[in-house]
């Protein structure tokens, strides 16, 4: 706080020696000059990590010798609604003191503020403590001059799954940001076993009420999704903490991993094109007819690209006959075989 205050008081770059006059900790005679300089460097780095835009200014020789914190970069602009209603509201109240007169005015449309409030509410519901806190603080700041409200839309998101461990999320956040390898224990439900994994984390996606880590698995030489709630004992590679362990490929697109995908679209199997006829008079088939692609040759039918036949025929079965596969023949056979095996379970009364 002292360092920020010392930098904000002046409008020009200042040296460490000048700062020492205003920051008592840097003038402590009990410490060596090197120790005081290290303290300043550490404070400066931590403040930058918090988002305080401290600039390093080079002298004529190109060496960094002075530092600056521009009020215009540090303080929030004055917020105003567009159009400002009464004339008196057009000019923001500018307090007396260094830097306040030069701050710009940022005009918001009312629908933009409502959208920001709704976005913050959406983030609150994702059960990521750091992101939730950041969204809440952001709204508190924006609401300093003007109300940021969602217009009274009541909205709740529920998840049947337990939330992720905040400490695990924190470790993954750090690893993703710093591009450091991360090790963790992963509970695989498929094999009902725990396994130690060491991966290169590319990003986090929130999908279907769950957080997933998208990471490259060097052993498998491929990208994998890890459900964060199944991760425990996560640690960031501690060696060379300031040096990234890996590069994220330029063509990597995190958005493509945030697309909601059906189980039958995943996997390494060959892609099969399947034609399905939906009985549109039924209630439950109505939503499904928005999936897949229309089939120009078969009105009333949809075409799906399927990589996992077992997952697809189970989904079809859930329509109880209102979704009938037409081609190819192996899918039709698999669907009917699944129905036969299922009805066998009901041969004996419970």
């Amino acid at each position: 706080m002292d360092l920020i205050a010392a930098l904000l008081r002046v409008h020009f770059p200042v040296s460490f020696e000048q700062l020492s006059a205003d920051v008592p900790a840097y003038a402590n005679a009990d410490q060596s000059p090197d120790a005081r300089m290290r303290m300043f460097e550490r404070d400066k780095d931590e403040l930058r990590a918090l988002g305080v835009p401290i600039e390093s200014v080079a002298d004529e020789d190109g060496a960094i010798s002075r530092y600056r914190l521009r009020s215009r970069s540090f303080y929030l602009p004055y917020m105003q609604l567009t159009p400002p209603a009464p004339a008196a509201a057009a000019a923001p109240h500018r307090p007396r003191g260094p830097g306040y007169q030069a701050l710009p005015v940022l005009a918001f449309e009312p629908d933009e503020l409502a959208m920001i409030a709704r976005a913050a509410n959406r983030v609150q519901q994702m059960r990521h403590p750091t992101l939730a806190a950041d969204a809440a603080t952001a709204v508190r700041k924006l609401a300093f001059d003007i109300p940021v409200m969602d217009g009274g839309v009541r909205e709740i998101m529920l998840s049947p799954f337990r939330g992720p461990d905040p400490e695990v999320l924190d470790v993954l956040d750090q690893a993703v940001r710093r591009r450091k390898r991360v090790e963790f224990d992963y509970r695989s439900l498929e094999r009902n076993a725990h396994a130690q994994r060491s991966v290169e984390p590319y990003g986090l996606v929130f999908l279907s009420s769950q957080w997933y880590l998208v990471a490259r698995d060097p052993q498998a030489d491929g990208l994998r999704h890890f459900r964060v709630s199944r991760i425990s004992s996560a640690t960031v590679n501690a060696s060379r903490p300031q040096t990234p362990d890996f590069d994220v490929p330029e063509d990597f697109d995190l958005w493509s991993h945030a697309e909601s995908r059906r189980a039958w679209e995943l996997g390494d199997g060959d892609a099969i094109s399947v034609t399905v006829r939906f009985d549109s008079s039924g209630t439950y088939a109505a939503g499904a007819t928005a999936l897949g692609e229309s089939d120009p040759d078969e009105p009333g039918c949809r075409r799906f690209v399927v990589r996992r036949v077992d997952a697809f025929v189970r989904w079809l079965l859930s329509f109880g006959g209102a979704a009938q596969p037409l081609t190819p023949e192996p899918i039709v056979v698999a669907w009917r075989e699944l129905a036969r095996r299922t009805i066998e379970r009901y041969a004996v009364a419970p």
Binding site: M1, R9, P24, A25, E46, R48, L50, G51, V52, P53, R72, S73, Y75, L76, P77, Y100, L103, L106, E109, M115, I116, A119, A120, N121, V123, Q125, M126, T130, L131, D134, A135, A138, R140, K141, F144, G152, R154, E155, I156, L158, S159, P160, L189, V205, F206, L207, G282, G287, V313, R314, S318, G320, G321, Q324, R336, A339, R341, E344, Y346, P350
Partner: protein, 324 residues
């Protein structure tokens, strides 16, 4: 300095950068109000503020030249020439809002997605000038709607809720093949288990009802004002992670095989069986939902009761096997 201490000092700095602009208008403020605004208890706020004017031998305290602080029993007053505006949005705060805005933009109809994009531009302008990659977590959120039609209906319903307007829904209930008009006073929206639900008072049923978004085929926002009880509590309409306001007397009991028991147990309370299978119970609100829910698991799920649903499942399966 330990990581913990650093984190505490950082948190304290964040809190002070919100508290000081609120307080520094030379007026006394109820300390409880400021603490609530900052999001901490009164003791924490008081401790934070004291560090501004108190010199400690060790620890995160400091001494701010020109800051004057006065407490009495319930109020606090602060004078300062610095920090009289909040700090701009930090990269991590900006990233959090962008995450929410991007998720909304992908599920909203185009005219509202444009608002989300404009709002994103504004919050970027409200951020500090620091390179955003410094502190932003690369995180994205997928959309919560599966079709453009659902996105449009969701938008219309939000408009109606915000404006306290009644709506007419064309709604396909579980048992009716054709949609029917429902006149509804919309209370709020709930997203659960992959679906959006509208909670509202249905004039036809003369009680609170839930409407699943993907069964709504048309929404008309009416000019008529919705009648919303002043003490309406959306949370009270939820039960065990699901919106359940329709009366449910029956219970659906399903046994899941050992092969999928772990996945079921991850989502809900189950009764584990000696053979590794599990039994779960659900309030039975809708027979069609029950049939569909069980069939998605094929031979790995069996309805135990009620017998009526067992019969429905068997009839559907028999019809599939009888089809050409």
């Amino acid at each position: 300095m330990s990581a913990r201490t650093t984190d505490d000092a950082a948190s304290q700095l964040r809190r002070l950068l919100i508290a000081i602009p609120t307080l520094a208008d030379d007026q006394p403020h109820p300390i409880a109000d400021v603490a609530a605004l900052v999001g901490v208890d009164v003791d924490t706020l008081a401790r934070d503020l004291r560090t501004l004017v108190t010199r400690f031998e060790d620890g995160p305290g400091g001494f701010m030249e020109g800051v004057r602080l006065a407490f009495d029993k319930n109020t606090v007053q602060l004078e300062s020439t610095l920090f009289r505006r909040p700090m701009g949005l930090t990269p991590s705060e900006l990233g959090a809002l962008e995450l929410g805005l991007a998720a909304l933009a992908r599920e909203l109809p185009p005219h509202e997605a444009a608002v989300a994009e404009r709002a994103r531009g504004r919050v970027v302008e409200a951020s500090t000038g620091l390179a955003p990659e410094v502190a932003r977590v690369p995180a994205l959120a997928g959309t919560l709607v599966t079709s453009e039609q659902d996105g449009l209906h969701l938008s219309q319903l939000r408009t109606a809720i915000a404006g306290h307007r009644k709506v007419t829904l064309q709604y396909m209930s579980g048992s009716s093949a054709a949609g029917a008009d429902r006149s509804v006073h919309p209370y709020g929206l709930v997203h659960a288990r992959g679906h959006w639900y509208l909670i509202g008072y249905c004039d036809r049923a003369m009680s609170i009802r839930i409407f699943r978004l993907d069964r709504i085929t048309d929404v008309t926002v009416l000019d008529a004002e919705a009648n919303i009880p002043p003490n309406m509590d959306l949370e009270a309409t939820l039960h065990d992670g699901m919106p359940l306001v329709n009366s449910a007397e029956e219970v659906l009991r399903v046994q899941y095989s050992a092969a999928i028991a772990r996945w079921i147990a991850e989502q809900q309370a189950v009764d584990a069986q000696p053979d590794g299978s599990v039994i779960a119970e659900y309030p039975l609100l809708d027979d069609e939902w029950a049939v569909r829910h069980v069939l998605q698991y094929g031979p790995d799920a069996e309805v135990l009761e009620p017998a009526r649903i067992r019969t429905m499942v068997c009839e559907r399966l028999a019809a599939i096997l009888a089809s050409a």
